[in-house]
C-alpha cells in the first residue's frame, strides 16, 4: 500500500466514523423475570415469616403468663416437711386443716409404700 493510498484509506475511515449508528429505541430492559420472581419469592417469604411471628407472639406471651402464674403458685408455697407427729395432730383436727397441710407438703410426699414418709406411716395405722 503506497503513501497516498494509505492516506486515502485513513481519510475514508475518518469519513465513515463521522456517521453515528442510530441509538436503540428501547431503554435498558427492566430486571429480568427470574430476578423479579426471586424478589417476589423473597418478599412473600418475609411476609409469611412476619405473619407467623405475629401469630406466635400472642400465644407465646399468654403461655408465659400462665407459666409465670404457675411459678408464682409454686414459689409462694414452699413445700413443708411434715412430721408424723404433725400429721397425727392434723388428723385429730378438722378435715380442712388436714387438707391444707397435705397441700403444703404435696410436693414432698412420696409414694405410699415409701418407708419413712407420712403416708407410709399413715398406711400402717
Amino acid at each position: 500500500m503506497n503513501e497516498s493510498n494509505h492516506e486515502q484509506v485513513i481519510s475514508f475511515e475518518k469519513y465513515l466514523r463521522g456517521f453515528h449508528p442510530v441509538k436503540p429505541t428501547g431503554s435498558l430492559p427492566v430486571a429480568p423475570q427470574s430476578m423479579r420472581l426471586r424478589a417476589l419469592a423473597l418478599t412473600a417469604a418475609a411476609l409469611v415469616f412476619f405473619g407467623l411471628l405475629m401469630v406466635m407472639m400472642p400465644m407465646r406471651s399468654s403461655r408465659t403468663k400462665v407459666s409465670s402464674r404457675a411459678e408464682g403458685v409454686v414459689g409462694s408455697r414452699r413445700p413443708v416437711n411434715v412430721t408424723v407427729g404433725q400429721l397425727n395432730v392434723a388428723l385429730r383436727l378438722t378435715d380442712r386443716d388436714l387438707g391444707r397441710m397435705l397441700d403444703q407438703s404435696s410436693s414432698n410426699l412420696l409414694p405410699r409404700a415409701h418407708p419413712g414418709t407420712a403416708l407410709y406411716e399413715l398406711s400402717k395405722e
Binding site: 453515528h20 449508528p21 430476578m35
Partner: protein
C-alpha cells in the same frame, strides 16, 4: 479467557454500558440481521443476560460484542431472516448528509457479510483486529484482510459519493 469479575453489576453501570455501546451493538446486529426490530430483540437479550449474570465483564465491550454476535446468530438459526429491504436508517447523519447515510447503508449491504461484520466491528465498534478475531472466532490476520477487502469494496460501492467527499 476470563470475562467476568466478582463485582456485582449496578444497574447504573449496565445503563452506562447500554448508552455507550448500545448504538454500535445495534448496528452490528442489524448488519447481521437486517431488521432493526430483530436486532433490538438481540440487544435486549444481551443486556437481560448481563443483568442476570450478577457480575460485570472484565472487558465489557468485547463481552458485549461477542454476546450480540451469538445472539444474532441464534436468531438467524431460529429463522429470523435478514430483511434487506428495510427502510429505516442505520446511521444518524447530519441533515446535509442525508443521502450519504442511505448510500452507506446500501453499500454496506452490498459487500460480503463476513467483510461487513469486520468493517462494522472495527469502524463503529472500535474493536481491534485481535478483538474482532475473538468475537468471530477467526485469526487476527484473517480479520485484518477481511477488513482491507471490505473497505475497498465499500469505497467502490460509495464511489460517486466518495468522489464528492474527496
Amino acid at each position: 479467557m476470563k470475562f467476568f469479575s466478582r463485582r456485582r453489576p449496578g444497574r447504573d453501570q449496565i445503563q452506562a454500558f447500554y448508552e455507550e455501546y448500545g448504538p454500535g451493538l445495534l448496528l452490528y446486529a442489524r448488519s447481521l440481521l437486517g431488521s432493526k426490530h430483530t436486532a433490538e430483540d438481540a440487544l435486549q437479550h444481551v443486556f437481560m443476560k448481563l443483568l442476570e449474570q450478577g457480575s460485570i465483564p472484565e472487558e465489557p465491550k468485547l463481552y458485549l460484542y461477542r454476546a450480540i454476535h451469538n445472539a444474532a446468530l441464534n436468531l438467524l438459526r431460529g429463522d429470523r431472516a435478514v430483511e434487506i429491504g428495510e427502510v429505516e436508517p442505520w446511521f444518524e447523519a447530519p441533515p446535509e448528509d442525508f443521502t450519504a447515510r442511505v448510500a452507506l447503508k446500501n453499500a454496506l449491504l452490498q459487500i460480503p457479510a463476513e467483510q461487513r461484520q469486520v468493517v462494522v466491528l472495527h469502524i463503529w465498534g472500535g474493536l481491534h483486529f485481535e478483538e474482532i478475531a475473538q468475537v468471530l472466532g477467526i485469526a487476527g490476520n484473517t480479520a485484518a484482510s477481511r477488513y482491507r477487502y471490505g473497505l475497498q469494496k465499500l469505497r467502490a460501492a460509495m464511489q460517486p459519493k466518495d468522489a464528492v467527499h474527496e
